[in-house]
């Protein structure tokens, strides 16, 4: 019975979270502070009704970036280029929304779509790199990402820079090109609804469509897929293209939301990409679980700031906890691969 319980697929992910929380507690104790106060501050800060607007917005971004990792993970590929894809989407959306002088009803959708196309195309490059040149997707995404970040950084510092400002940022977008808000909420906007819609689409495609099935087969056993005539190269192109498009969408939503401009580093520094990756890994890529595991990282992310304020624990602790979860889950992947010869058949 116990043996059966310990083999349940949820054991490792939940164990990883519990272990991370314990390790965090030890670190806080070593620093001479009170872990219970710190964790209480995390929960209070993130779940405080006055903060919920912000918390929801962050949850949406982490869910979005969770999909960016989860979609390729379905076929066993790791997309570590979320940052580049996110930033490229953000800068594209800014350019379309600000430079074309279109009315808002056209500018906003157009900016979102353009961001998705550009980021999707950028991410999709990794697929032919893998099929034609044998560069693993995990490597090419990791290496291409800083290139995109640097290009965006250049654009915002020079051609698109706000004149007379010391900061590396663009001017504020015209009012017309702000993303539509939901009532008088400040952070949560129509963007959150779009991300939820994308999650629903991913769920349905994953479980009901032929392509979703083919992705899962490839992820479960690539040789089986190839033997059956699936084309991993084409599937990777689709998966990476869609993952990039989602990252572009998230980047565009962030730029079109308050403070309505592209600020260098502002898309990357909150760590949505990393939190999304952790959420996707924790969910094992399963579409229905990503929004659930994203809650955990949202709480850490949002609560981290108030933990710093009230319990004097630096917010970097949130990153440490995320890191611990990722390391444990990655270890599992490695161990599973090692044990692959030792499955059950018979």
């Amino acid at each position: 019975m116990i043996a059966r319980l310990t083999r349940h697929p949820a054991v490792v992910p939940i164990g990883a979270v519990v272990l991370a929380i314990l390790i965090g507690a030890v670190i806080i104790l070593l620093a001479g502070l009170n872990p219970i106060d710190a964790y209480a501050a995390v929960l209070q800060g993130s779940l405080d009704p006055r903060n919920l607007d912000y918390t929801f917005a962050v949850w949406g971004f982490i869910c979005g970036m969770g999909l960016v990792a989860a979609i390729p993970l379905r076929m066993g590929e790791f997309n570590l280029g979320g940052n580049g894809q996110l930033v490229l989407g953000g800068i594209t959306a800014y350019v379309v929304a600000s430079q074309l002088g279109l009315p808002g009803i056209v500018a906003v959708p157009l900016a979102l779509i353009a961001a998705m196309i550009v980021s999707g195309g950028f991410a999709a490059v990794s697929a032919p790199l893998a099929t034609r040149f044998g560069i693993p997707i995990i490597i090419s995404t990791l290496l291409l990402s800083p290139v995109a970040v640097a290009v965006a950084s250049y654009l915002v510092r020079f051609p698109l820079a706000e004149k007379g400002s010391g900061n590396a940022q663009t001017p504020v977008l015209p009012e017309d090109a702000h993303i539509w808000s939901l009532g008088d909420l400040r952070y949560t906007s129509v963007g959150l609804l779009l991300i939820i819609a994308v999650m629903v689409i991913f769920y349905v495609v994953d479980s009901r469509s032929a392509v979703g099935f083919e992705l899962r087969v490839t992820g479960a056993n690539r040789r089986f897929g190839e033997y059956a005539g699936l084309k991993p190269g084409r599937l990777a192109l689709g998966a990476m293209g869609s993952a990039g498009a989602v990252a572009g969408l998230v980047g565009a939503i962030i730029v079109l939301s308050s403070p309505y401009r592209f600020i260098d580093g502002a898309l990357i520094s909150p760590g949505y990409t990393f939190a999304g990756l952790a959420a996707a890994l924790l969910a094992g890529g399963r579409p229905a679980l990503v929004p659930v595991t994203a809650i955990l990282f949202t709480i850490l992310q949002v609560g981290g700031a108030s933990m710093e304020r009230t319990a004097e624990v630096p917010r970097q602790l949130s990153d440490v906890l995320q890191g611990v979860v990722i390391v444990i889950l990655a270890l599992r992947v490695v161990l599973d691969a090692r044990r692959a010869g030792a499955g059950k058949d018979s």
């Binding site: 032929a210 087969v217 089986f224 033997y227 005539g229």
Partner: protein, 515 residues
């Protein structure tokens, strides 16, 4: 002190709804070979896994050499003197034969693995037991038969006093089986106790001294081999007589569905297949015999398109598909039952339904080929189709959602067969189609293959079982060292002649030789 090496008392194990073992008693006398038989899913592997500490019984006692034991892992079992060769391979593909054999019990020198000593040890064991192997070869490059030898060497290396062999012969050729049994007999004479799980009655009669038969998780018969007959064993296993399917003989031949012309396959500059030509016509079963590793599998991979040819042409139903991708070949009319069920023929973590659906998932009743629903699957359709196949192929399972990896070996094989036969492709390639399936199911599958031929389709049958080739094939080609060295038609074929040609005695088969 009793003479029993192992005594199992009242072993029970249930997996959710399935009772895999139900109060099984088994006594293994020291220094004997004890056969365990039973239909697919009868609980043989579960019982062996319990004895080896891989699975915990819900109840029951394990007594090894007079001492009650409770193994919490195979390491405990190994320490108690047990060794097991599993039904499917548990080897590291990226490591060499020597590394695999000594893994977990490495000879060391100054704290590091002593590779030379490991290789010497492997060669020594291999020679002593007559198991031909190359210690430096990478396991991933080996044929199934060669991997099986590595598994056996692994158990021998650890000096197991009690050796569990779970279907060790499922993928071996007759000569390999003979040499394995020489090993088994030698080990038993030296005092090792051997448990042999197998579906092959002849093997049981040849090598064992006692037989225990399981049915639905219980012991349904115990026999002293010398006093029993194969009919009696079959009845204990199945509860009925199994009819041997008679081959009605060649019908009328139709168009050519497969034409292989001067095909060579080279891998890392080694020629695996050299200049092979053959053809299969509608209404014909063409057999390929050969000791595993003589290029049969590379030839199949070249026809399927998972390996590139270095020379020659391949035509399926008239279309030249030499450079075409797998999908185009399957669309041109090809289905394949592969030799490597777990590595290539299934996704063990996915359900029976999903495994049965792959390749059919864009056609009705699962997919909608055109119109509004194009690209979408009907999960209800997939489930319905799966449960039909589960009952028509007699797949023993707790439900169509069960992952294929937790099915018994023979039942997992039936999943692969059901999926590939249901393509109804003009050409079927069947590699070891009956590996691991029980006597009754073998006859059922043979019957289906003969029906397949009778329906005007062609089959290329690759098998190590000469009896299978003789029962089904209209012509038998023999491969040796990548070449076709002999061809026999139905009337000329005999076990002796095929066996001699497989051993490389092309000259002896000179009269039958056709290029």
């Amino acid at each position: 002190m009793s003479t029993a090496a192992v005594e199992l008392r009242g072993i029970s194990k249930r997996f959710d709804a399935v009772v895999a073992n139900d109060g099984i008693d088994l006594v293994l006398a020291r220094g004997t070979v004890h056969a365990v038989m039973g239909e697919n899913g009868a609980g043989k592997s579960t019982l062996m896994s319990i004895l080896f500490g891989l699975v915990r019984p819900d109840s029951g006692e394990i007594i090894v050499e007079g001492e009650a034991r409770s193994f919490s892992s195979p390491l405990d079992a190994i320490a108690a003197g047990l060794g097991m060769v599993h039904q499917h391979f548990r080897l590291f593909d990226s490591m060499t034969v020597a590394e695999n054999v000594v893994f977990g019990a490495e000879p060391t020198r100054g704290g590091r693995i002593d590779r030379a000593a490991a290789a010497a040890r492997v060669l020594d064991l291999a020679e002593r037991y007559g198991l031909d192997t190359d210690p430096q070869a990478r396991v991933g490059d080996l044929s199934a038969g060669a991997r099986q030898r590595v598994e056996i060497l692994k158990a021998l290396h650890r000096d197991a006093r009690i050796l569990i062999l779970d279907e060790p012969t499922a993928v071996l050729t007759p000569s390999e089986v003979t040499s394995l049994f020489t090993v088994v007999r030698r080990a038993a004479e030296a005092g090792t106790t051997v448990v042999l799980v197998t579906h092959k009655i002849q093997e049981v009669l040849d090598v064992s001294s006692e037989v225990t038969v399981l049915r639905d998780g219980r012991v349904s018969g115990r026999f002293v081999t010398a006093e029993t007959t194969s009919a009696e064993l079959v009845r204990a296993m199945t509860g009925r007589e199994v009819e041997i399917v008679a081959n009605p003989g060649t019908g009328s031949l139709g168009d050519t569905v497969l034409e292989v012309e001067g095909v060579s396959v080279a891998e890392a500059r080694v020629e695996r297949v050299s200049n092979v030509s053959l053809s299969v016509r509608r209404g014909e079963i063409v057999g390929i015999a050969g000791v595993s590793g003589n290029g049969q599998h590379d030839l199949v991979a070249a026809i399927l398109g998972t390996t590139a040819v270095s020379a020659g042409r391949i035509r399926l139903g008239g279309d030249d598909v030499t450079g075409a991708p797998v999908a185009a070949r399957r669309a041109a009319g090809l289905a394949v039952i592969p030799e490597d069920r777990r590595g290539e023929g299934s996704a063990v973590t996915m359900s029976i339904t999903e495994n049965l659906s792959l390749g059919h998932h864009r056609q009705p009743p699962i997919g909608r080929p055109n119109g509004f629903g194009r690209g979408w699957m009907s999960l209800a359709g997939a489930r319905r189709r799966a449960s039909e196949q589960i009952s028509s192929y007699d797949i023993r399972t707790s439900g169509e959602k069960q992952p294929v990896g937790s099915l018994s070996g023979g039942n997992a094989q039936k999943v692969v067969i059901a999926r590939e036969l249901s393509f109804e492709a003009p050409l079927l390639i069947a590699e070891q189609p009956t590996q691991g399936v029980d006597v009754g199911a073998i006859e059922a599958i043979h019957g289906r293959l003969l029906d397949y031929r009778a329906s005007g389709r062609g089959i290329l049958l690759v098998s190590h079982e000469i009896s299978e080739l003789l029962a089904l094939a209209d012509r038998v080609l023999v491969m040796f060292a990548g070449e076709i060295v002999a061809e026999f038609d139905r009337t000329q074929a005999s076990a002796e002649r095929i066996g001699a040609a497989m051993a490389g005695a092309a000259a002896a088969a000179g009269e039958e030789w056709t290029a």
